[in-house]
Amino acid sequence: MATTAAPAGGAQNGAGPEWGGFEENIQGGGSAVIDMENMDDTSGSSFEDMGELHQRLREEEVDADAAAAEEEDGEFLGMKGFKGQLSRQVADQMWQAGKRQASRAFSLYANIDILRPYFDVEPAQVRSRLLESMIPIKMVNFPQKIAGELYGPLMLVFTLVAILLHGMKTSDTIIREGTLMGTAIGTCFGYWLGVSSFIYFLAYLCNAQITMLQMLALLGYGLFGHCIVLFITYNIHLHALFYLFWLLVGGLSTMRMVAVLVSRTVGPTQRLLLCGTLAALHMLFLLYLHFAYHKVVEGILDTLEGPNIPPIQRVPRDIPAMLPAARLPTTMLNATAKAIAVTLQSH
């Protein structure tokens, strides 16, 4: 660039008086200002410039290689200082390159900041949302507001997992082909994610105004009722109590979700389809959770279990306690228990 400075100076002097101000700036400053004169001179010949730049770089590389070769020669000749320096530089460069690659991959895949806005809650907000999930609101002409956060729903799903584990342990459920923990986690997360996706798909078909995040949040907070009911009825084993809670608490949380969806859907058929599906799935899930992991009545299963039990993974035991033992084989309501009885009868 130094070789082009002289003719540039000539060009500058040849410029009109309107460029006088720029002249002063350029000549006085130096490093802080972009050297306009050089750029002026190379207008239209930027390719030549780049070519020049590349040539210089290549020459420098060749020089560096030659120097490295010399250093290696020096190594062979036994000059230990060069050898240590070279190996350390190489190691340093490899370390830098590896670190750069690793940090790039890490920031690409492990970027949890995408989820950060959904966890921006205060304890008071979580508490109020938990209480509101049990209170249905009757406003159906205007879309009801749904809080789009994931902390509350995630914690509720984990709480449900813990309560389920407690229930399974107290009822001595046998899991043949799986594990207790795996079943609990699979059931709860499967319900939350699966039913949310299914209802979101139905909402898409029925033209309802709800996003996936809102659906996840809505259903997650709807599990609060389930947690309460199961926590109480896994410890107090009265069927009447369970049915009462099922209708009352389960019904309240279902009504809340239904009201929100109705306010966001237009048309009676669509409302019926969407809300009917959600209500059915929600209530039936609570029923399933209770009866699948119910407290065992000791002794009954000992007479029923045989060597060839039909291929089911769990052995739910729900025997209504009020029936006398003599009438049990004929009045069993549980379908799986019927299957066992049928199998045993066939032997």
Partner: protein, 236 residues
């Protein structure tokens, strides 16, 4: 150094007046000879540091790591507000504790009819994935603790529950019964509370003050699940 050697008696005459020439008049006395190395021996120091941990015996390496782990155990058993666990975190302690717990908790045979307990892999997966989930949650809530520091704290705070497991196994040798169950329940509850207090003492400072409850609740659930596995363990 060059100036002192060249002109010991007359600083400043050998070279034309440099910018800070006046300083040399007051800095070095003429009678005292200046000697010593002016180059900083970085190279030799680095080489010395490298070989010091590489050439030591295996025994001293293991003892050093074990001592660090033991010191952290003490910090967990007597939780104070300190950041030893956070400053030099390591995952040896959590690994030892997790393996011990999983070995003690596992079923005798894979095919047993009564569900005596979880498999080894189940306990392992629960502990590590639970710790990872809690760490992610606390980071998403705005905590300024690093990933491995949080894993280290959560893993070390399983120590009281491992002690509870040992005590439960010893108590179960005496035979089942209601008194047996009450003793085990009491021990597990005390150790569960101890774990939570210990982990809160270490993790509380890293969260914004109004969100501590949100970060502590999953820790509570995590230790509850582990305590439940310990309490309901029945040997075959």
């Amino acid at each position: 150094m060059a100036e002192a050697e060249e002109s010991p008696g007359d600083p400043g005459t050998a070279s034309p007046r440099p910018l800070f020439a006046g300083l040399s008049d007051i800095s070095i006395s003429q009678d005292i000879p200046v000697e010593g190395e002016i180059t900083i021996p970085i190279r030799s120091r680095i080489r010395e540091f490298d070989s010091s941990t590489l050439n030591e015996s295996v025994h001293s390496t293991i003892m050093r790591d074990l001592k660090a782990v033991g010191k952290k155990f003490m910090h967990v058993l007597y939780p104070r507000k300190s950041n030893t666990l956070l400053r030099d975190w390591d995952l040896w302690g959590p690994l030892i504790l997790c393996v011990t717990l999983a070995l003690m908790l596992q079923r005798d045979s894979a095919d047993s009819e009564k569900d005596g307990g979880p498999q080894f892999a189940e306990v392992f997966v629960i502990v590590w994935f639970g710790a990872v989930t809690i760490t992610l949650n606390s980071k998403l809530l705005g905590g300024n603790i690093s990933f491995f520091q949080s894993l280290c704290v959560l893993g070390y705070c399983i120590l009281p529950l491992t002690v509870a497991m040992l005590i439960c196994r010893l108590v179960l040798l005496a035979g089942p019964g209601p008194i047996n169950f009450m003793v085990r329940l009491f021990v597990v509850i005390v150790m569960f509370a101890w774990s939570i207090v210990a982990s809160t003492a270490f993790l509380a400072d890293s969260q914004p003050p109004n969100r501590r409850a949100l970060a502590v609740y999953p820790v509570f659930l995590f230790y509850f699940v582990i305590s439940w596995m310990i309490l309901t363990f029945t040997p075959q």
